[in-house]
């Protein structure tokens, strides 16, 4: 018998993934439970690269949830559906990986493969997850949300503005999260050129999120054509996977 994908926490993760969260509070609950399981995954435990991403994602989703409760968005129906759809794709990727399915998106597989080692630095790991999630999952989550709400991705709409507000949340969270990752001497370095780095990180997220919106518009136009849709999917998966591999390569460590 080969060892199950998730080692000692396999049964727990399978159990968790059997449930499909239907609202943002449930997504946050799911990510919290997942975090508790990921840090118990030997041999890396707390430094599991996927846990690095999951923690960031949990923080951001929690902020989104707070924003929804606090009336921060113009169209909460859209934003909460988007958040649920977005998370569903991450959980789907995990489910496919659990079943060792060959259809696991490559963009995710490159991060999942590193779960049991070798270790990667927390920042590039989290960035690899963000890359897969935003560059690959987000456009599809957008398209599904718009088609479910019988609306459409239009620049300058309430939905578009709400979507851009997430950038503020990223910008708000990433600098502090980065500092959270850093060792002491790195903190010193960070303080020296902190602002530039923060700017760079913020820009990266904003840039890729903008690309995701454009890609969603592109998929939107061909969403009734199964072949074109599949082509687009393969293209995004390949691009995201290439960037993900780069982030997780020794080169990616320079980011940190």
């Amino acid at each position: 018998m080969t060892e199950p994908v998730w080692g000692p926490v396999h049964a727990d993760i399978v159990g968790l993934l059997a449930d499909h969260p239907e609202d943002v509070p449930a997504v946050v609950d799911h990510l919290t439970k997942l975090q508790d399981l990921l840090v118990r995954l030997p041999p890396l435990e707390a430094s599991c690269p996927l846990a690095d991403f999951n923690k960031l994602y949990l923080t951001i989703t929690t902020s989104v949830l707070e924003g929804l409760y606090d009336d921060f968005f113009a169209d909460p129906v859209f934003l909460s559906r988007l958040d649920v759809e977005f998370a569903a794709r991450y959980f789907d990727a995990l489910r496919m990986w659990t079943e060792s399915s060959p259809t696991t998106p490559k963009a995710w597989a490159c991060l999942f493969r590193r779960m049991r080692g070798p270790d990667a630095r927390p920042l590039p790991s989290a960035a690899a997850g963000v890359n897969a999630h935003i560059n690959f999952d987000l456009p599809f989550a957008l398209v599904t949300t718009f088609s479910h709400l019988e609306s459409e991705p239009v620049d300058g709409s309430d939905q578009h503005r709400d979507y851009l507000k997430i950038n503020d949340i990223f910008a708000d969270k990433i600098p502090s999260l980065r500092r959270g990752y850093l060792e002491r001497w790195q903190l010193l370095l960070d303080m020296l050129n902190g602002d530039i780095d923060d700017w760079y990180q913020g820009e990266l997220v904003e840039y890729t999120r903008d690309v995701a919106w454009r890609n969603a518009q592109k998929i939107w136009r061909c969403r009734h054509d199964p072949n074109a849709r599949d082509c687009e999917r393969a293209r995004l998966d390949d691009n995201a996977a290439a960037l993900g591999r780069l982030l997780l390569s020794p080169l990616g460590a320079f980011l940190q």
Binding site: H20, E22, D23, V24, P25, A26, L65, L68, Y69, D70, D71, A74, D75, P76, V77, S80, R81, E85, A88, D92, E99, S101, T103, P105, P139, F140, V143, T144, S147, H148, L149, E150, S151, E152, V154, S157, D158, I219, R223, H224, D225, P226, R229, D230, E232, R233
Partner: protein, 973 residues
């Protein structure tokens, strides 16, 4: 050789077959619905499982209809259902003449159903036709390749599964797992549906090692050598399709095992005789199933040679043959064949198909013609076919499909003429094509596409766009939720000198409606008056009058001159009646009923108008849409004024029209509201599931919050306060803060759930949830302060409830807060929340052990109201409290104390105890302290102590545990 085709046994799927049988037939009660969606990768055996399960269900007495969805993106609406009906009809014997005529009747409906303004008719007619075919037997709809399902079929499935078709139906469908990734529309539908009790998603996994060996051995006819078995396992990964093909090669002694399926099939294609080769490629280029006659025409082979060639292709396991025609054996075969033909060869095949189809009609005639002519490189010939297919889809209200055909037509019209063989496109009116494409895009919700088509239309005209185009553009913009540019566009129409008075009236009326939705009541009123003035000068502008009057009526109601507004809307109804156009009359009734039951809160009259209107529009032949909408208004009004029995009758009558879409959801919610009030858990659950099924199709976010509110209300009667909390939390994250009334209702439900969790100790109070609820209440209070009077009026009622619930959370509850809430709801003429508030007021008074007489009076009043409604759970809560407080609810009936002796006769050991002592003992057995018992029974802690010592004496025990043991023993627990 052909007999070899399906002899492979079905291995490793016994459990799934049993599950399918019981889920789709066995566990299903009359009138219920169920569905199983089988998902899995290509070749894992979904179709085979469907086939076997279908056969078993048929043997068990079900009527089984089998169809597949098509992957040509331009199929016609409801194609798989049509196909299933045709197949079913072909299999009927002469003895089943009645069923056969029912099937023909339904098929005829597809062919001839005229276009009507009543968009939902098709779904209703199909479901009526299906129930005629079923004749009371359970019906199973088996659909393969659901990943290619058209939008109309998707809506039909949800409609039937929601129970709206009123027949016992189950759906068994297969969907390729790979297709569901990305942005497939079914993905979201399945995620929503899999939460329902009546729906299962069966993820079909590959075979395990043992089953792989069994399957391979069965095909080879003998056990495999360990090496061969290992190879088959390694290469197939347990995929039964691959296992089967590998095992066959092994059995037939082909050299070594092919590495990939691609190689397997390529080897086979190469080994085919020449004609068989042609057959395979022709089937691959055709639209499946390819009829035998059509194949004969395309290949121009003599009958005998064609049959031999087809036989060989079947024997090589590349195609399969059925009564309705030939198909490729598997999707994988198509992928293998894709690169095997030269483009010229392929387009020649398409040309022959198109020519053959031109000579003889066939299933999906126009869509197929368009498809083949286009791929044959003959846009001029494809164009009329695409247009015909579009019109056909429009007739069946398949606007998404129609839009696709019109788009194809547009593309064809702009394709430069190819070879000089056919007519050149260009003799069609491109503007007309654009117009059709834009309008169908708008109707299927593709507003951005509609707008860009319209822009193209306007650009083609060289001059300034006409007023008609501008009005359309504004309409599309408004529908897309882009209010600012829509407003600007309407204004341009109003300012344009070349617009007719009629066009200006239309623009002003629509603009008024738009402004009303934006909450700009003063502007809306101004524009509405302008529209009415313009319309007065134009004959036959009743539609504009009705629309503008309604906008004016509502804006006046919101701006505190309700009487003037009401008069305008009443006059609009008179005008509409005089002009006599049915839609105008129906709209006028609808606006009047909405105005009365909505902002004006004149409920009784609103109900009367809605019911009279319903009768009237039924006479006018608009029963399905407008009558159901009017009856939904009547139901909700009757619910609020407390005439629940009447409301129940009305909603039942409305549902007999088998409405679909948003109208159906509205009615299901109305019925569910009644069931929750009655405490009928089963019925409420059923309606909530039906609503969730309909909402899985998307498009109606405004129904989500009412559904969540009902879910929370139901959960509270069940004592499941955590479930109620979850529903409220989801609602809070998905509601806009300007939806003051819904948000207030939601917050009240949340606070009530926390207060009741605290009182009943089912779950601990969630402090974070509580904090958020307080925030929500604050927000509602702020927003309603600036809202229009009618909005504020309703919101204030809920805010009173919220304040009172908060006092319950802070302590024993503030009787004054509850008194205020009761008063608010009395003023609004809503007995249900008023009775509830009285119950809580009485409870708060009793908890303070003061003014027992007032509390008794309140309880009696609440009891009377709740009983009048038929609100069972509320009545029983009032009874429980009255029992604990020893209040006699039936004033004149029995002397005090009698009520406490109701209940089961006590056995001997307890016979010595008084009724009160038995109550105390029951609480002791629950483990409560004297203080807690005192709070529950509204007597002092010291008195409880006295009761307890009496109990000990009479039962001759010394501890609470012993006393409890006697109670439990006599109860037989």
């Amino acid at each position: 050789m052909a007999s070899d085709v399906d002899t492979a046994p079905l291995v490793g799927r016994a459990d799934q077959l049993t599950m399918l049988r019981s889920a789709l037939l066995g566990e299903l009660g009359p009138g219920q619905t169920a569905a199983v969606f089988v998902s899995g990768e290509s070749g894992v055996g979904k179709s085979r499982l469907l086939h076997e399960a279908g056969a078993r269900l048929r043997d068990a007495g079900a009527v089984v209809l089998t169809g597949s969805c098509l992957d040509i993106g331009d199929a016609s609406p409801l194609h798989p259902v049509l196909q299933a009906l045709r197949r079913f009809d072909a299999d009927l014997t002469a003895a089943q003449a009645r069923t056969s005529s029912a099937v023909r009747g339904l098929l005829g409906m597809f062919a001839e159903e005229p276009a009507t303004p009543d968009g939902g008719t098709l779904l209703e007619r199909v479901s009526r036709g299906l129930s005629l075919i079923a004749e009371g037997r359970p019906l199973v709809l088996v659909l393969d390749d659901l990943q290619w399902v058209d939008r109309s079929t998707r809506q039909l499935l949800l409609y039937l599964l929601a129970g709206l078709g009123d027949l016992q139906l189950s759906v068994l469908a297969a969907v390729r797992a790979e297709s569901l990734q990305g942005a497939h529309p079914l993905r979201r539908v399945l995620t929503e549906l899999r939460r329902l009790r009546s729906v299962r998603v069966l993820d079909l996994a590959p075979l395990d090692r043992a089953d792989t060996d069994r399957l391979a051995a069965a095909i080879v006819g003998a056990p495999l050598t360990p090496e061969a078995a290992e190879q088959v396992w390694q290469r197939s990964g347990g995929n039964p399709f691959v296992v089967e093909e590998l095992a066959r090669d092994l059995r037939d002694g082909r050299d070594g095992l092919s590495d990939t399926l691609r190689e397997i099939f390529l080897t086979r294609v190469d080994a085919l005789p020449q004609h068989a080769h042609a057959v395979v490629h022709a089937v691959a280029a055709g639209v499946e199933p390819v009829e035998h006659w059509l194949l004969a025409e395309v290949l121009a082979l003599p009958e005998q040679e064609l049959i031999e060639a087809a036989r060989a292709a079947v024997a090589h396991r590349l195609i399969v043959s059925a009564d309705d025609g030939y198909r490729l054996r598997h999707r994988l075969v198509a992928e293998v064949l894709e690169d095997e033909l030269l483009p010229a060869e392929r387009s020649a095949l398409h040309r022959r198909y198109a020519e053959a189809l031109t000579r003889a009609p066939a299933e999906l005639h126009q869509a197929r013609l368009a498809h083949h002519w286009r791929l044959a490189g003959e846009p001029g010939r494809a164009l009329p076919a695409a247009m015909a297919a579009a019109r056909e889809a429009e007739r069946l209200h398949g606007f998404a499909e129609a839009h696709r055909h019109w788009s194809v037509a547009l593309r064809l019209a702009s394709t430069p003429a190819g070879p000089p063989t056919g007519p050149v496109p260009g003799d069609v009116d491109r503007a007309a094509l654009l117009e059709h494409a834009a309008e169908t895009a708008h109707q299927c919700g593709e507003h951005a596409r509609a707008l860009s088509l319209l822009a193209e239309l306007a650009g083609a005209e060289e001059t300034e766009p006409s007023c008609a185009v501008r009005i359309r553009r504004a309409r599309y913009l408004a529908a897309a939720g882009r209010s600012a540019p829509a407003e600007a566009e309407y204004q341009r129409v109003l300012a344009a000198p070349d617009c007719t008075a009629r066009e200006r009236a239309t623009a002003a009326a629509h603009l008024a409606e738009l402004l009303l939705h934006l909450g700009r009541y003063a502007d809306a009123g101004r524009r509405a008056r302008e529209a009415l003035e313009l319309a007065a000068k134009v004959d036959g502008s009743t539609t504009e009058v009705v629309l503008a009057s309604s906008a004016l009526g509502f804006s006046e109601a919101f701006l505190e001159d309700p009487d003037a507004g009401l008069a305008v809307v009443r006059r609009a109804l008179e005008i509409a009646e005089r002009a006599g156009r049915p839609e105008d009359v129906a709209c006028a009734y609808l606006h009047l009923a909405e105005l009365l039951t909505g902002p004006l809160n004149i409920l009784e009259e609103g109900v009367v108008v809605a019911r009279r209107g319903a009768e009237r529009v039924a006479e006018l032949g608009l029963g399905r849409t407008y009558e159901t909408r009017l009856l939904a208004i009547a139901t909700n009004g009757l619910f609020r004024v407390g005439q629940w029995a009447e409301a129940e009758k009305v909603v039942a009558a409305a549902l007999r029209h088998r409405p679909s879409g948003a109208d159906a959801v509205e009615l299901l919610l109305a019925r569910c509201r009644l069931s929750v009030g009655y405490g009928d858990i089963e019925a409420s659950d059923r309606d909530l599931e039906a609503v969730a099924t309909m909402l899985a199709g998307g498009g109606a976010p405004r129904h989500v919050l009412p559904m969540l509110i009902l879910r929370a209300g139901l959960a509270m009667w069940q004592g499941r306060h955590d479930v109620a909390r979850q529903a409220v939390q989801r609602g809070l994250t998905e509601s806009r803060s300007d939806d003051v009334v819904l948000l207030a209702t939601l917050a009240w439900h949340g606070l009530r759930a926390e207060a009741e969790a605290l009182a009943s100790r089912t779950v601990p109070v969630d402090e974070t949830a509580l904090r958020r609820l307080r925030d929500a209440v604050d927000r509602v209070a702020t927003k309603s302060g600036t809202a229009a009077r009618p909005v504020r009026y309703v919101a204030d009622g809920f805010l009173a409830l919220c304040t009172a619930e908060l006092s319950r959370l802070d302590g024993r509850g503030d009787p004054d807060a509850w008194a205020r809430s009761a008063l608010e709801w009395d003023r609004r003429n809503h007995p249900y929340p008023a009775a509830y508030s009285r119950l809580r007021q009485a409870e708060a008074l009793l908890a303070r052990r003061s003014r027992n007489a007032t509390a008794a009076k309140l309880l009696r009043r609440a009891y009377e109201m709740a009983q009048g409604l038929g609100a069972v759970p509320l009545t029983s809560e009032i009874r429980t409290l009255a029992g604990r407080a020893r209040v006699d609810l039936e004033e004149r009936a029995q002397p005090a104390g009698r009520s406490a002796t109701r209940g089961q006769p006590a056995s001997d050991e307890l016979a010595l105890l008084t009724a009160r002592e038995r109550e105390v003992l029951a609480a002791v057995a629950e483990g409560l302290t004297n203080k807690e018992i005192g709070q529950r029974l509204f007597i002092s802690e010291r008195t409880i102590g006295v009761h307890v010592s009496h109990i000990f004496d009479k039962l001759q025990v010394r501890t609470r545990v012993q006393a409890s043991a006697i109670l439990l023993r006599t109860r037989g627990e």
